[in-house]
């Protein structure tokens, strides 16, 4: 069974490919949806095409599946009528699957289920990464505010932090917001 993954995000495609290989599928290709990707796809004659629901190129792919003369067998979106939760899970995870005519449902389902799990795992990873990035940038803002207080008010680092913290508590705000306000004010006043 030849599986083609159409995906913009190199990382997510790799995560999915690894999962499929571990499950014993070995004929897997990754095609980024750019330029003439449909011509490449036609030549590959895939049995299953997996694509990110968020990709704007889905319309281009579907058009190719509709009009292509190069494909020996028609390919259509995989919808298991007997399993509505599966459809919902796939849409929630953001993955769509297209399969060639005649491929048995039992053969497609495990591929789609695996894709859904991997897409979800990737989304979780991504949001953790975003959180970590936010945390990092929060820390940088607080550090900068601390150094303003240290140089302008002659405070030690722990005292500068304690001052930020108590102002935040008094104002009912987050420390990072107080720190940001301090940096903005300091910039306006020409400090630093």
């Amino acid at each position: 069974m030849r599986i083609v993954i159409i995906d913009d995000s190199g990382l997510r495609a790799t995560v999915l490919e690894e999962g499929l290989r571990e499950a014993g599928y070995d004929d897997i290709h990754i095609v980024p949806p750019r330029g003439g990707f449909v011509a490449r796809l036609e030549r590959m004659a895939p049995d299953v095409v997996l694509m990110d629901l968020g990709s704007p190129s889905r319309d281009t792919l579907e058009e190719m599946l509709t009009v292509s003369r190069a494909l020996a067998r028609p390919i259509a979106m995989f919808v298991d009528q007997s399993d509505e939760t599966m459809i919902g899970a796939a849409i929630d995870a953001g993955v769509s699957a297209y399969v060639v005519d005649g491929l048995r449902k039992e053969r497609v389902k495990p591929v789609l289920e695996l894709a859904v799990r991997r897409f979800n795992a990737f989304a979780k990873l991504q949001s953790e990464l975003d959180e970590a990035r936010t945390a990092l940038s929060d820390r940088k803002i607080i550090d900068r505010a601390k150094s303003i207080l240290m140089s302008q008010r002659g405070l030690s680092e722990p005292d500068a932090y304690a001052l930020l913290r108590s102002s935040a508590m008094n104002q009912g705000k987050k420390i990072v917001d107080v720190a940001q306000a301090l940096i903005t004010a300091s910039d306006l006043l020409g400090g630093m």
Binding site: G35, L53, P56, R58, L61, E62, E63, V79, G88, S96
Partner: protein, 400 residues
């Protein structure tokens, strides 16, 4: 109690009525909270609607007909009780191609028939088959482009290459030379003009003076099970649409739509379609086209069944579906004037007395029978002068 509704849309100027219903309090006044789900392809918008992730969608009218007829992946009966706009498309071509057309752009746009013939000649001069981007096989854009090309003897399936790509990728694609031009909803034509990549070649409103564009689509069973919610939404949209059409609000509307959660393009580019000041080439002053995109006046939101049938006739013409009485009935059933009437029964909205009309027959503004108040229909001619009588589809098809 507030009802939550999820509605999918694509980043386009003609999603305006939904954005305004949410942001200007019209939905809230009807006890609705709208969660607008930004989507980047028509396929995903369709799937979100068909599989119930959203309750309604800002959809291409021909796509709603196609899904109902089972022509676009999973078949599902869809219902459109409300038209979100008429008009709003523009065909733009790279300047290298447009050189072969009338250099007087205002004259070019005013004479779609002449321009279609010039375009046909330009195809012969071009180094290969021109590649024209269309947003979807089942889009008003594709249907109108085909109608226009065919009027000059161009076979859209043989003489040009129609490449499907979503509106948001059109500008990038013409910049990269992957396409020679495209027809899309605003602001994408204006964005390509603004980038100096293309110039206006035809305006949707000049091809069909009142061309059906986006509709609000529901799954029919859901629509039938939730009459109260549907009615409240339609009332909110009618008021939002009137707000959108008011010239005093165009600037504010352009700014609202320019936000990242909506169209995410510069407000001054979005404003052009709203105010009807279309810049046809980057170095030119705007041309005045007051009917470029309509949301409210002339009962724009009213879903005439004859318009669903006109779309159907074009799908048959291009062999996308086989004509049968059953298919025609299914297509006509997508547009739901009965629901529109029910929802606005106690409002002051002027309501057409009929549900079908002969399309393309109104040459100048015409006062028509209305249940309430004054209703004037704007000119709805096709540029080639054809008229479509929904009772005589076979004759109409035989005329091509």
């Amino acid at each position: 109690m507030t009802t939550d509704l999820r509605i999918a849309f694509l980043p386009l100027t003609d999603a305006a009525v939904l954005a305004v219903a949410r942001e200007k309090g019209f939905a809230e006044e009807e006890g609705l909270h709208l969660d607008l789900v930004r989507t980047t392809s028509w396929a995903t918008l369709r799937d979100r609607l068909v599989f119930g992730q959203v309750q309604a969608a800002h959809m291409l009218a021909p796509l709603a007909v196609a899904v109902t007829l089972g022509l676009s992946q999973q078949a599902a009966p869809l219902a459109a009780p409300y038209k979100l706009n008429v008009n709003g498309n523009m065909l733009v071509m790279a300047s290298a191609f447009a050189q072969a057309l009338d250099p007087d752009i205002a004259a070019r746009l005013d004479d779609p028939l002449g321009t279609a013939h010039d375009f046909a000649a330009a195809i012969g001069l071009w180094k290969r088959k021109p590649v024209i981007g269309v947003v979807h096989r089942f889009s008003s854009h594709s249907v109108m482009l085909r109608y226009w090309l065919a009027s000059a003897g161009v076979d859209p399936d043989r003489d040009v290459i129609l490449r499907v790509l979503p509106p948001s990728l059109t500008v990038e694609a013409i910049g990269a030379g992957e396409i020679d031009g495209f027809i899309a909803g605003e602001p994408w034509g204006s964005a390509a003009v603004d980038a100096g990549l293309a110039e206006a070649v035809a305006i949707g409103e000049r091809i069909w003076r009142r061309g059906v564009e986006k509709i609000l689509a529901f799954r029919t069973p859901w629509l039938e099970e939730n009459p109260d919610t549907v009615d409240r939404l339609l009332r909110a949209l009618v008021r939002a649409a009137a707000w959108c059409d008011d010239p005093q609000h165009h600037e504010a509307l352009a700014h609202l739509l320019s936000r990242p959660q909506y169209v995410d393009q510069p407000a001054d580019v979005i404003l052009r379609a709203l105010s009807g000041g279309i810049v046809p080439r980057v170095d030119m002053a705007p041309l005045s086209m007051p009917d470029f995109m309509l949301f409210s006046r002339e009962a724009t939101p009213f879903p005439w069944r004859s318009q669903a049938l006109w779309i159907y006739s074009q799908l048959v013409r291009w062999k996308m579906v086989e004509h049968s009485a059953d298919n025609a009935a299914k297509a006509a059933s997508v547009f739901r004037p009965d629901i529109f009437r029910r929802a606005l029964a106690n409002s002051d909205v002027a309501m057409p007395g009929a549900s079908m009309k002969v399309e393309g027959a109104v040459g100048s503004p015409l006062a028509v029978g209305s249940k309430r108040g004054e209703l004037t229909l704007g000119p709805d001619r096709f540029f080639d002068g054809r008229v479509f009588d929904p009772e005589r589809i076979e004759d109409f098809l035989a005329s091509f």
